[in-house]
Symmetry: C2
Subunit: 460 residues, 2 copies
């Protein structure tokens, strides 16, 4: 399969819906690439159509939806990539943007899913509704594999269809009255789901949403916030190793964070989706920190370990020690949420999850992770050789490249225009990401090498 064919296949599968959406949502002609704007995300969603149909309901639009800025970051990038490919139909576009895995799922894992699929056609192998919380065996295996000796038990683990879905379910659980803090920059789903739930005020350019505590993470503070300057909130979203900066908090820093939460009665939602990418002995789970079970939830995912971005499987740990102010266990309310708003992850995906945690599966995952880590090393070296200040990469599959004083959407646009490589503009992760570009290490080796060659050409 030629690279061009691969790209066309890829655009037709991953961007198809976006192209489909054009039909519905975009007023711009398709063949024009969007100019990048000086600051902020350009508004990609059309204003209410002028060619109105005769009828409107009397239902008011949820005002929280109206607060959201433009499209969710990654579909917006996919849309710009699609527009670029329409402008340059012959270009060999390489995506180091949305963090999408590209390497095959280890065979031992894929074949376990195939086996489960086939068995569903038999009376003995068939299963209908599973437990909303996930299959008992998988919950137990997640607990023993990732949380051995940390006091996390099978019934603290909830199997999900991915971390993003559970972030949203956690927001539904907490409701509209909580206040939240996020690392700035951070994975946009934390903030956007909080906006949707009505936890925030309006957006202000270069500042962010009102009522969100943005904890600046910069090269100057080693990407760990100065907690003495952080106001108390009900919830803190904290991702380590961090997406997008690629930095991992040390044991000492995480101890500070847990102490800060304890002092404030705050709940930490700790995203450890990249934990297995760590190269040093930095904690892989927040529950390695004593006392964390009383203040923390951990969310994670098989997406970046086993290439499950399309298969959809993750988990959330809510220790029974975690309580609301009235002593009600948080896990009990979350259990009610998954029973009412979710019906469990696909049984086939769960069979895959079990295989991931078998000895051969764990080995297979380490190979996948090792592959992307080598990609990361190549990207880091490339930008370092070009004289950039480069962060991340050591403990995460993301490289955070500094372009001081420049608009990250401008840099994104220039890189795309001149090298046909898709990256992610730092400001898409929050005001604190301005002036940075995130380069993802998820890609075929040949593409990563070719992208790096083009970077060297552009910035030589």
């Amino acid at each position: 399969m030629s690279l061009m064919n691969q790209l066309l296949t890829s655009i037709s599968s991953s961007s198809s819906a976006l192209l489909g959406q054009d039909h519905l949502f975009l007023t711009r002609p398709k063949n024009v690439v969007l100019p990048s704007k000086k600051s902020g995300l350009c508004k990609c969603i059309a204003a209410p159509s002028t060619e109105k149909t005769a009828y409107k309901t009397k239902v008011s639009r949820n005002e929280n939806m109206g607060k959201l800025q433009a499209g969710y970051l990654f579909p917006e990038i996919a849309r710009r990539r699609a527009a670029h490919m329409l402008k340059y139909p012959d270009a060999q576009v390489i995506s180091l943007g949305i963090g999408d895995t590209t390497e095959p799922i280890p065979e031992v894992i894929a074949s376990a899913m195939a086996k489960r699929s086939n068995s569903l056609a038999t009376i003995e192998g068939y299963s209908g509704y599973g437990a909303e919380q996930g299959e008992k065996l998988l919950r137990a295996k997640v607990a023993s594999t990732f949380y051995a000796n940390l006091g996390i038990e099978e019934d603290d683990v909830f199997i999900s269809d991915g971390a993003k879905s559970d972030i949203s379910r956690l927001q539904v659980l907490f409701g509209s009255d909580v206040t939240m803090a996020v690392q700035d920059p951070s994975y946009p789903a934390y903030v956007d789901s909080g906006v949707i739930m009505g936890q925030t005020g309006r957006y202000q350019n270069n500042v962010g949403y009102a009522h969100i505590e943005y904890m600046k993470c910069t090269p100057e503070n080693g990407f760990f916030p100065d907690l003495s300057a952080v106001s108390r909130t009900d919830v803190i979203f904290f991702c380590s190793p961090n997406n997008p900066t690629g930095s991992a908090a040390s044991r000492d820093q995480l101890s500070q964070l847990v102490q800060f939460a304890k002092d404030n009665g705050t709940i930490i939602i700790y995203d450890s989706a990249y934990a297995l990418y760590m190269s040093d002995d930095t904690p892989k789970s927040i529950f390695e920190i004593p006392g964390a079970k009383e203040v923390a939830i951990e969310i994670s995912s098989f997406s970046k370990y086993a290439g499950f971005t399309g298969v959809r499987l993750g988990w959330t740990v809510i220790p029974k020690e975690l309580q609301f102010s009235d002593g009600f266990p948080v896990a009990k309310d979350f259990n009610r949420i998954v029973c009412t708003c979710f019906n469990g992850a696909s049984n086939i995906a769960q069979a895959g999850g079990l295989a991931c945690l078998s000895p051969a599966g764990l080995e297979g995952m380490q190979e996948v992770i090792g592959f992307y880590k080598e990609n990361t090393r190549i990207i880091v070296e490339t930008f370092q050789s070009l004289g950039f200040n480069v962060y991340g990469g050591k403990n995460a599959p993301y490289v955070w490249v500094h372009f001081p004083g420049q608009s990250s959407w401008d840099v994104f646009g220039e890189i795309l225009e001149k090298t046909h490589v898709v990256t992610t503009p730092g400001s898409g992760f929050g005001p604190g990401g301005e002036g940075f570009i995130r380069v993802s290490a998820f890609g075929h080796r040949a593409n990563v090498l070719e992208a790096c060659r083009r970077f060297k050409e552009l910035y030589k």
Copy 2:
């Protein structure tokens, strides 16, 4: 495999988490069956534990969660079934309760999922993140299969991991300020998700939640509400063929409903998850009614057609003609919700969905449906022969049996105790279900026949 072994396998897979939960959530000794109560659902979730840990966070529990009555209906039933099996370890318990499919997935569909699983282990066949809205091909196929000539297009269709998840996402979309109406009785996820979002007031025994408009559906009104007595709400949840009553609204009734929505500027959320079970020419989609595209959303699922209750795949149709009062398209906000709070259904499940809609797959689904329809006929005949007033069954896999003047939890308990058959108490579906029992037709033929034999024994 013996029946007992089958039951044990079944309980260990489908109720495992619930048994696991006992450890966390229940204070009652395990070996005691719960007495059924005179009215309402008994409170199955323990009050905040008395053996408190030292630490509580300062985060207030979401007060909407506190409004929810007891556990979500179906896990509660699974829990009672589990307790019953502990009490009678040798009993051959038969479940005609939670509506869980039991028959194998047609081979052509299962093998398509196996093929997709295996292909994920290859470079050519691998795919990562798919479109959040679902794969283009599947969206198009759903549109052409179920909505041919109804003006529904590919980009009106959003692929989900099941109807229950999308009900919840729709509630997140609408937010806390909308008012809602439901058929009474109805599938509990509509009401419970509205409670969680804060759309309602407190629960009142035998009345329901404040601020919900309960549209009584009784034998007297042919299970179609008297719309002249229904107050205007922003949203109406309407399920046809109905779960639990099994009755389907006629074309004339649906036209009245659409007109009612138009007059009031209301949005109908139409649940058609049982449409293919219809035996007559009653509309299979709300979009068969002229003008419905301006006032309706339709949710549906592969669960009951192809045995996908565990595989997890469904869809939601939001026509581009549907607008909020300010002219903003509802589909555009829903698109933002799926991009922010969901990452698409599993790619393997979507391969199964595509296979479902192939000629061989459609044939296979018809066989599955035909099998359960024959079960339905057997159950209807049984209760009719015993002199009960029986509703439903003709257009849906649910039989709605009248026990006038009796508490449905009492009847549920008596049937379970004396016949070891699990049914569903009508009052679990809302105050209007009191005095009824829902008998689900999902079961192996031998089990259905055996259950009916026991019913005849009990009520002879």
